[in-house]
C-alpha cells in the first residue's frame, strides 16, 4: 500500500500536499499531514456545517477554535468549558480510553489559565444483559474515577443511556468546566521571534501513535473490536497531570508564559504548528531535545506520538530559569524543544530539525497543517425508509401492556456509577450527580470569589429521537439541558456540543449531521445560547451499522444568588403537584418506553415549540432562583420539589421524585401510555405548598400549568378512577436503587472472548 494511504490520506489529499510544498513531501512531512488532516483533527467533513451554529453573545470572551470556550461570569471571574469524546479508544481499552479522555479535556481547560472545577461524563452503552457491555461499562466507570479522583477534579454528573446501537461502540463524552480570573486568560499563541518552546510533563513514547487517524477517523472492522488497535490507545497517568496542573497554573499566575497549548491528538506536531500558526509565526522543533521514554524512536514517531500529560509553553528566554525552577519544584520534566521564528515572506515555517543547528527533516508552512486541511461537502441524503419509519407509530403496542410494570422497568438510580467518582472535592458541590443539573458554588482555589454566585451544569442528548428526526431531536436535547439548568435556578448562559455520529461517507449520516446541526442552531438561537465550543466524533459504527446520531450538549447556567440548595427532584407530604406545559396525550415515537421497553423505533416525535419553551425556561429559572437566593433559616419557600419531564415522560418523572423522597402521590390524570410516557418537551412537575402562587406566576409568564395531584402517602397512584394504578413506594424505591447495582453484580473481571 502507498505510504499516504497507510497514513489515512486519500490520493487527492496527497496531491494537495505536493501542491502546497511545490514538491513531493518526505515521509515525516506526510506523517504530519496525515495526523493533522485526519477527520478528528481537521473536521474536514463537518466544518462546512458547523459554521451555521451561533457563537456570539455579549458575555462570550473566547468562542470556538481555541482550546476551550470562555464566558464572563461577572466580578472579574470567567468560566472555561469544553466537551470531547473518547469513544473509539474506550471501545478497545475501556479503562485507559476513558481515563485519557478525562486527562485530555482537563488539559484543554487549564491551558486557558483556568482551574478545572468540574467534570461531566455522559455515557452511552449497550444493554447490560451483554457481557461485553458490562465489561466496557465497568472499565469506563473505573477509568473515569481512577483518573478524575486522583487528578483532583470532581466529577459532578453526566447521564448513562443504554441502547443496543452502542453495544460495540460505546460513547464516552467528557465535559470539563474551569474558573479563572480574567487576568489569567492565556491563548495558545506563539509570539516573539526567539521565544522558546518548552515541553512540560511526560516523556514521549510510542503510545497513541496514529490515535487520531488510525483509531478515531475510521470504522472498526469485525476483527478490530478486540485488540489489534490497542497500541493506538494512550496510557494515562493522573499523578503526572496533577503536578502539571499545579505547575502550569503557577506559571500562568506569575505571567511567565506568553502562550501555552496542550498536546492532544496529533501530539507535538499539532501543538507546535498550531501555536505558531495562530501567532502568525514560524517554529523550529528539535527532535533530539524531546525527552523520550524509549530508544530507537524515529522523528515521525516523536512528532506524532500522543503520549499523554504534556504541555507546550512559549517562554521568553529571560523567564526560562524561573519556568524551569517552578517545574522542578513540582517534579515536572521541562525541556526546551524549539524556538519561535520570524515568518519568511509572510509565511511562518514549521520546521523539524534533528538537533539545534542540525539538518532540516521537515519544512512546511505552519498554517497549512491546519488551515489548508481539506474541506468536504459530502453527499447528504435522507434515509430511504424515513417516511415508513415515521409512519410506524408505537401507540398500538400499549394495548396489552401494564403501566405499572413498564414504569418499574424504566426506573434506575445512577448512584452505582457516581459513588465511584469524587464529586465533592473543593467543597463547593451543592447538588451532585443524579439530579437535573449539578450545582457548584462559583469558587476555586486561586480564583477570587464573591461566594454568592452559583454555576449549574447539565449534559443531555437523546440518540433515539435524532434517529427519527435529527433536527427536532437535536433541538429537544438543547431544550432539555436548558430546562435542567433552569430547574436549579440557573440562567442558561452557554453551550458546548459533542456530535457523535456514524460514518460520514454514508450520505444518510451526513444528512443526520447536517439536520442535527440545524436543530442545534435553531434551539440555541431561540434560547439565546451561544455555542462556545464543540467536538465532532464520526465513524461511530460497528458490525456495519452506524450508531443513532447522538448530539450531546453541555449547558452551563449562572445562579445569581446561591444561598440555599435548590429544592431538587423530591415530593413533600401534603404539597400540591403542578404540571407545567402540555397536559395531553402525545406521540410515543422514539420514547424511552417505545425503544427500551418495546424495542420499537418508529413513529413521530412530539412537537417542539421553541418560543413556548423559552417562556417555560424563563418562568422556571425565576421561580427557583427566588428559592435558592433565600438565606438558610429564612422563611421557607413555596417550591418543595421540582423535576423536568424527559426520559419516560410524566410517569417516570413523578416516580423518580417519589422513589427519591420516599413520599407517595395521587395524580388525577388519564391512565394511558400515550399520556404517561410521552416525552413532549417544555414540561416540569412542581411540588408546592402554595399552588395558587405558582399558578399565578405561571399565568403571568404566559405558561400553561395545572394542579394534577397531591403528594403524600405510601403509594404512587396514577389516575383516580377504576382504571387507576397504585404502586407501593417500597416497590418504586426497590426497582430504582437495584437497577444498575444488581445488573453489574454479576460482572466478572476478565474481558469476555468473542
Amino acid at each position: 500500500m502507498l505510504l499516504h494511504r497507510a497514513l489515512g490520506l486519500t490520493d487527492e489529499e496527497a496531491e494537495d500536499i505536493s501542491r502546497i510544498l511545490s514538491r513531493q513531501p518526505n515521509e515525516l512531512e506526510l506523517a504530519m499531514y496525515g495526523v493533522m488532516w485526519s477527520e478528528h483533527c481537521s473536521y474536514k467533513s463537518s466544518r462546512i456545517h458547523l459554521r451555521r451554529l451561533p457563537t456570539e453573545g455579549d458575555h462570550v470572551m473566547v468562542g470556538p477554535g481555541e482550546n476551550a470556550g470562555v464566558i464572563d461570569a461577572g466580578d472579574g471571574v470567567a468560566v472555561a468549558l469544553r466537551i470531547e469524546s473518547h469513544n473509539h479508544p474506550s471501545a478497545i481499552e475501556p479503562y485507559q480510553g476513558a481515563a485519557t479522555g478525562v486527562g485530555g479535556i482537563i488539559r484543554d481547560i487549564f491551558t486557558m489559565g483556568a482551574r478545572p472545577i468540574a467534570l461531566m461524563d455522559p455515557l452511552r452503552l449497550g444493554p447490560l444483559d451483554d457481557a461485553r457491555s458490562r465489561w466496557l461499562f465497568d472499565g469506563i466507570v473505573r477509568g473515569i474515577g481512577g483518573y478524575g479522583n486522583a487528578v483532583g477534579v470532581p466529577t459532578l454528573g453526566g447521564e448513562v443511556v443504554f441502547d443496543r446501537c452502542y453495544a460495540r461502540n460505546p460513547l464516552v463524552n467528557v465535559m470539563c468546566v474551569g474558573l479563572l480570573p480574567h487576568s489569567r486568560l492565556v491563548l495558545a499563541k506563539a509570539s516573539g521571534s526567539g521565544n522558546l518552546a518548552v515541553l512540560l510533563g511526560s516523556s514521549t513514547g510510542r503510545d497513541g501513535i496514529g490515535g487520531v487517524s488510525v483509531l478515531a477517523s475510521a470504522e472498526f472492522g469485525e476483527e478490530e473490536e478486540g485488540s489489534s488497535k490497542r497500541p493506538s490507545v494512550q496510557v494515562a497517568d493522573p499523578y503526572e497531570e496533577k503536578r502539571l496542573i499545579e505547575a502550569c497554573l503557577e506559571l500562568l499566575e506569575r505571567g511567565l508564559v506568553v502562550g501555552i497549548q496542550d498536546l492532544g491528538g496529533a501530539g507535538l506536531t499539532c501543538a507546535a504548528s498550531e501555536t505558531a500558526a495562530r501567532g502568525g509565526m514560524g517554529m523550529d522543533v528539535y527532535v533530539s531535545e524531546v525527552p523520550l521514554r524509549e530508544g530507537g524512536m524515529v522523528p515521525a514517531e516523536v512528532m506524532t506520538s500522543e503520549s499523554q500529560e504534556r504541555m507546550l509553553a512559549i517562554v521568553s528566554p529571560d523567564s526560562l530559569d524561573q519556568v524551569l525552577a517552578i517545574a522542578s519544584n513540582w517534579e515536572v520534566r521541562a525541556a526546551v524543544v524549539g524556538v519561535v521564528t520570524e515568518p519568511e515572506d509572510g509565511v511562518g515555517r514549521f520546521r523539524v530539525l534533528d538537533r539545534p543547528g542540525g539538518s532540516v527533516l521537515a519544512d512546511v508552512p505552519a498554517a497549512s497543517l491546519s488551515d489548508d486541511a481539506p474541506l468536504y461537502d459530502r453527499e447528504r441524503r435522507a434515509p430511504k425508509d424515513l417516511a415508513q419509519a415515521l409512519a410506524d407509530d408505537p401507540g398500538p403496542l400499549a394495548e396489552s401492556r401494564s403501566v405499572a410494570a413498564d414504569l418499574l422497568a424504566m426506573l434506575a438510580d445512577s448512584s452505582w456509577v457516581w459513588q465511584q467518582y469524587d464529586h465533592q472535592l473543593f467543597a463547593n458541590t451543592v447538588v451532585g450527580p443524579g439530579s437535573d443539573a449539578a450545582v457548584v458554588r462559583l469558587a476555586a482555589p486561586g480564583v477570587p470569589s464573591s461566594g454568592r454566585t452559583g454555576l449549574a451544569i447539565s449534559t443531555d442528548g437523546t440518540g433515539r429521537w435524532c434517529a427519527l428526526e435529527p433536527k427536532v431531536g437535536a433541538a429537544m436535547g438543547v431544550a432539555e439541558a436548558a430546562l435542567n439548568v433552569a430547574c436549579t435556578g440557573g440562567r442558561p448562559a452557554a453551550l458546548v456540543n459533542c456530535l457523535n455520529f456514524g460514518n460520514p461517507e454514508h450520505p444518510e449520516v451526513m444528512w443526520q449531521l447536517s439536520e442535527a446541526i440545524d436543530g442545534l442552531a435553531m434551539a440555541c438561537r431561540a434560547l439565546s445560547l451561544p455555542v462556545v465550543g464543540g467536538n465532532v466524533s464520526l465513524y461511530n459504527a460497528s458490525e456495519g451499522a452506524d450508531i443513532d446520531p447522538t448530539p450531546v450538549v453541555g449547558v452551563v447556567g449562572l445562579i445569581e444568588e446561591l444561598a440555599s440548595p435548590p429544592p431538587g427532584a423530591v415530593l413533600a407530604e401534603g404539597c400540591a403537584i403542578i404540571l407545567v406545559g402540555a397536559d395531553s396525550e402525545s406521540s410515543l415515537g422514539a420514547s424511552r418506553w417505545a425503544v427500551e421497553v418495546c424495542g420499537h423505533r418508529g413513529g413521530r416525535l412530539p412537537g417542539l415549540d421553541l418560543d413556548a419553551h423559552a417562556r417555560v425556561v424563563e418562568f422556571v429559572t425565576g421561580l427557583v432562583a427566588a428559592e435558592v437566593s433565600a438565606e438558610e433559616g429564612a422563611a421557607a419557600g413555596i417550591v418543595s420539589g421540582i423535576h423536568d419531564l424527559s426520559d419516560g415522560g410524566l410517569a417516570l418523572c413523578v416516580a423518580e421524585m417519589a422513589a427519591r423522597s420516599g413520599v407517595g402521590a395521587v395524580l388525577d390524570v388519564p391512565v394511558s401510555h400515550g399520556y404517561l410516557f410521552n416525552e413532549a418537551p417544555s414540561r416540569v412537575l412542581i411540588c408546592t405548598s402554595d399552588p395558587d402562587a405558582v399558578l399565578g406566576a405561571a399565568g403571568a409568564a404566559g405558561v400553561v400549568a395545572r394542579v394534577i395531584g397531591q403528594a403524600g402517602g405510601s403509594e404512587l397512584r396514577l389516575g383516580t378512577g377504576q382504571d387507576g394504578v397504585a404502586i407501593p413506594i417500597g416497590d418504586l424505591a426497590g426497582s430504582w436503587s437495584a437497577a444498575l447495582g444488581q445488573r453489574m453484580a454479576s460482572f466478572s473481571a476478565p474481558e469476555p472472548q468473542g
Binding site: R142, G145, G146, N149, A150, V151, G152, D237, P238, Y239, K242, R243, E246, W330, E331, S415, W418, Q419, Q420, Y421, D422, H423, Q424, L425, F426, A427, N428, T429, V430, R441, P445, L562, A563, S564, P565, E632
Partner: protein
C-alpha cells in the same frame, strides 16, 4: 490567641485548599506547608489532607512517609503539637508508624464517595472532645483504600484504651470493628477516613464536619 495550623502539601495532595478554608472559616490561621519543609515551629496543628500523595504509587502513604515533614511529626507532638490525618493523611500516619494498623482496599474493590453515618466512640482525643459519646454525625467518605485493618492485639488495645474515635454505622469499606477513625495513646494524633472539611455548611455537605473541626480547635485553644 489565634491557632496556627499547617496543612501539608505533597505532590498529588488535593484536599489541602479545602482544609485551609475550613479551618480559616473557624478563625484559625491556616497555611500550606510544602512536604519538604522540616520546620514546624510556631504551629499548633498539622493536618495531613486527603488526596493521592506521590500518586499513591506503591501504596497510599508509602512514599509520603519519607518526606521531611512527616519525619518531624513525632517531635512536633512531643512538644505539644497536634496532628490530624484525613483520608490519605490517615494512610500516611499508619505508614509512618504514628498510628497502628493499615488501610487496605475497600472490601467491594470499588472507590466509594458518599455520606456515611458515624458514631462518636470516644471523646478523649483532640478531635471529638466537645461532642458526646454515642452521638451520631454525618460526614462524606471518598476513598478506594479505607478498609482499616490491624492485628488482634492492636485492635484490643485500641478498643480497650478508648482510642477508637469514630465508628461507621453503615460500614462502606469493610473496616475491622467498623473503625472510621483512631487516635494514638496520647490522643494528640488522630487519623480518620471521612472528610470533615467537606461538611461545613447546610449549603455544602451539611454542618457536622464543622462541629468536628470546631471541637478540634476548641480543644487546642484550651490546652
Amino acid at each position: 490567641m489565634t491557632l496556627r495550623a499547617g496543612v501539608v502539601v505533597f505532590p498529588g495532595s488535593n484536599c489541602e485548599h479545602d482544609v485551609v478554608s475550613a479551618l480559616g472559616s473557624l478563625g484559625a490561621e491556616a497555611r500550606l506547608v510544602w512536604h519538604k519543609e522540616g520546620d514546624l515551629s510556631g504551629l499548633d496543628l498539622v493536618v495531613l489532607p486527603g488526596g493521592f500523595a506521590h500518586g499513591d504509587y506503591l501504596r497510599p502513604g508509602a512514599i509520603a512517609r519519607f518526606s521531611p515533614v512527616v519525619g518531624e511529626l513525632a517531635a512536633f507532638v512531643g512538644r505539644g503539637g497536634a496532628v490530624l490525618g484525613i483520608c490519605n493523611g490517615f494512610q500516611v500516619l499508619t505508614e509512618a508508624g504514628l498510628l497502628p494498623g493499615a488501610l487496605q482496599k475497600n472490601i467491594g474493590l470499588r472507590f466509594v464517595c458518599r455520606d456515611v453515618e458515624l458514631r462518636v466512640e470516644s471523646t478523649s482525643n483532640i478531635l471529638t472532645s466537645a461532642l458526646e459519646e454515642g452521638e451520631r454525625v454525618r460526614i462524606p467518605v471518598n476513598h478506594f483504600e479505607g478498609c482499616y485493618t490491624a492485628d488482634a492485639d492492636d485492635l484490643r488495645r485500641l478498643e480497650g484504651e478508648g482510642r477508637v474515635v469514630l465508628r461507621y454505622l453503615d460500614n462502606p469499606n469493610g473496616s475491622a470493628n467498623d473503625i472510621a477513625g483512631i487516635s494514638d495513646a496520647t490522643g494528640r494524633i488522630v487519623g480518620l477516613m471521612p472528610h470533615p472539611e467537606r461538611a461545613m455548611s447546610k449549603l455544602v455537605g451539611g454542618g457536622d464536619g464543622r462541629r468536628l473541626l470546631s471541637s478540634l480547635l476548641g480543644a487546642l485553644a484550651a490546652a
